[in-house]
Amino acid sequence: MKILVVDDTEAILLLISRFVEALGHQAILARNGQEAIEVWRQTRPDLVLMDVMMPIMSGPEAAVVIKAEAGATWVPIVFVTGVGEENALADAIERGADDYINKPVNFRVLEAKLKAVGRTLELNRQVREQSKTLADYYERAEEEKRVVRHLMDQMVNSERLADPQFQYWLSAAESLSGDLIAAARTPGQALHILLADGIGHGLTAALNVLPLTQPFYSMTEKGYSITDILFEMNAKVRQVLPIGRFVCVSLISIDEVGGTVEIWNAGMPPIQILDRNKQVVRVCSSSNLPLGIVPSHSLDLSPERIYFKEPGFIVAYSDGLVEARNASGAEFGLPALLQTLIAADETGLPPTTAEQTRMVTQTKIALADFLAGEQHHDDVSLVIASFGQDNMEVALPADTVPRAAELALQEIPADFNLLAECNWRYSLAISAEELRYLNTIPFMMSFVKEIKALSEVQSDIFLILTELFVNAVDHGLLLLESSMKTQPDGMEQYLSQRAERLAALPEGRIEIDLLGLRYKEQQVLKIRVKDSGNGFDWANSYAKLATGGLPSGTHGRGIALVRALSLKVQFIGLGNEVEVYYLPKSPAATQH
């Protein structure tokens, strides 16, 4: 150690410094408090061994200055005291001195004290080093969190969460949330809502849920079903996360046009379906392993399907909400949540956006009251969505019926096929084998999305293509009867029979052509779909539809929708071929 020895008596100064040196330390000398401060500033010794009473400046006075200047660095100061200096010594120790030794100095005691101080100094150095490392870690962690938070904000895309069909609440236990809520609409306007809970909370949990966002948004935009999206999300999570990491997920699809809700739940708490009076009418419990544990093909990715006739609510939440504990250790619980939702509205109002907002706000208040100042220990998330409401501003395709009238072209003129120029053409032909695994329409949508004239009307094109394609496959090739759907449980039967027949289909062919045409400065999209089936008596079947108006039954609605969206629908020959002419929005019409 480097030791500063301070004494105004030359003999003692010499004696102590010699002894210090004999013990293997380096001695630096000063003869009063003032000098001690100056020498300390220049040499920064490890320890100060100082007399109490000295001329110019006393030991305790110098000690105060040195301690103040040393700041966070610990400089041990040991006083060498004579008889009768007890008061000054007590004062000095109170003001920060560390130890003392009596005069005449007993060298055995001095040696022991130096060793003790040396040990404490070493400990002090270690603590300082560790706390510096800790501070470095902390700073780095904060920086990492900042980056991840930015990344999450970008990937979660909170703008799309502003949808009148649902309201949500997300409250993180730490600065980063391991719960994720994402929403997007398919080109056919079905609303997809993703609620995910990564293992743990904070940074690692947030990282766990990030891989979900990309497949969710890009596949929803192209119109993939939630089964396909889940397949991809599971593959992604398995690919990027280490073993032992997984993500609990519920994926909800609300299709107002088809009147169906699809729910798939893996590891999330039971999703509650409420009627308009907030009574639970159905519960969709987790029946799957969370994502990231087993390969996609060993998961059952088919969702629970609900065909709704009455409006209602879907309530999805993370375990952080129902398991939030107050000071006495009680959990908030599902009954309290459901009670809160009922209390939010006793008049049975229809499921409007305002009503959803009120339910979410009531839940926030109820949880805050319950916790009474306690912090919830896990991330809390809640989604309240509604279905079957007709007074909400959901962009249903029926709204677009009068659109054709705004456009220059009112009908397909006689000279159309002569004069129309073909700008581009996209053709696809697939056989029964591809039909079994290929997701034809979403696949085609990635092309449609890139065509400038069509990018604004993807939703219309998706609906038209889906309708024509489903007709060609279901009725043309698989010979399914639409009337089946009207029976009780008909939809389920229809779908299972469809799956059976498709699996057993020996041969069959579907051709789809998209043509980008130009007729007198007007862009026209021509869609042609042909199947290898026997066709049907189209003239008879659709005669009554030609006059317009949507039929009220569950079948025939599709083709009427296509008629409403397009300029002309023309069946050809046996009825196994259909041509549809569609007008993309012209720049003038877009301004409406």
């Binding site: 809970d197 293992i199 743990g200 073993i243 032992g244 990491r245 997984f246 609990c248 893996a266 590891g267 999330m268 708490p269 419990s285 987790s286 029946s287 799957n288 392993l289 969370p290 544990i293 087993v294 375990d319 896990d378």
Partner: protein, 101 residues
């Protein structure tokens, strides 16, 4: 939480208690490593008798253990799962990949 180990013949029983969450991570891993390294043990039982709470990071630890046990050609079962523990395992559908008794 300090897990304890009981060895009877070729069965190693890891007895957990209290809250099984991320704070138990290190002790759980150490105990499991010692059991996996023991060549006499052929079957590992994780005993939840005294566990009153289980969170998702505990599920992650179980998945890791399952992986290591399989690599060491031993078998694994989760035993004495009651109430909360059972409920958490059910929601995560862990019965599909674990033997639960």
């Amino acid at each position: 939480m300090t897990p304890t180990v009981q060895i009877e013949g070729n069965v190693g029983r890891v007895i957990l208690s209290g809250q099984f969450d991320f704070s138990a991570h290190r002790e759980f891993r150490q105990v499991c490593e010692s059991i996996i390294a023991n060549p006499d043990i052929k079957e590992v039982l994780v005993d939840f008798q005294n566990v009153n709470y289980l969170d998702s990071s505990a599920l992650g630890m179980l998945l890791l253990l399952k992986e290591k046990i399989a690599a060491a050609s031993k078998t694994l079962a989760l035993v004495n799962c009651r109430d909360t523990v059972k409920q958490v395992l059910e929601i995560a559908c862990f019965g599909k990949i674990f033997t639960i008794r």
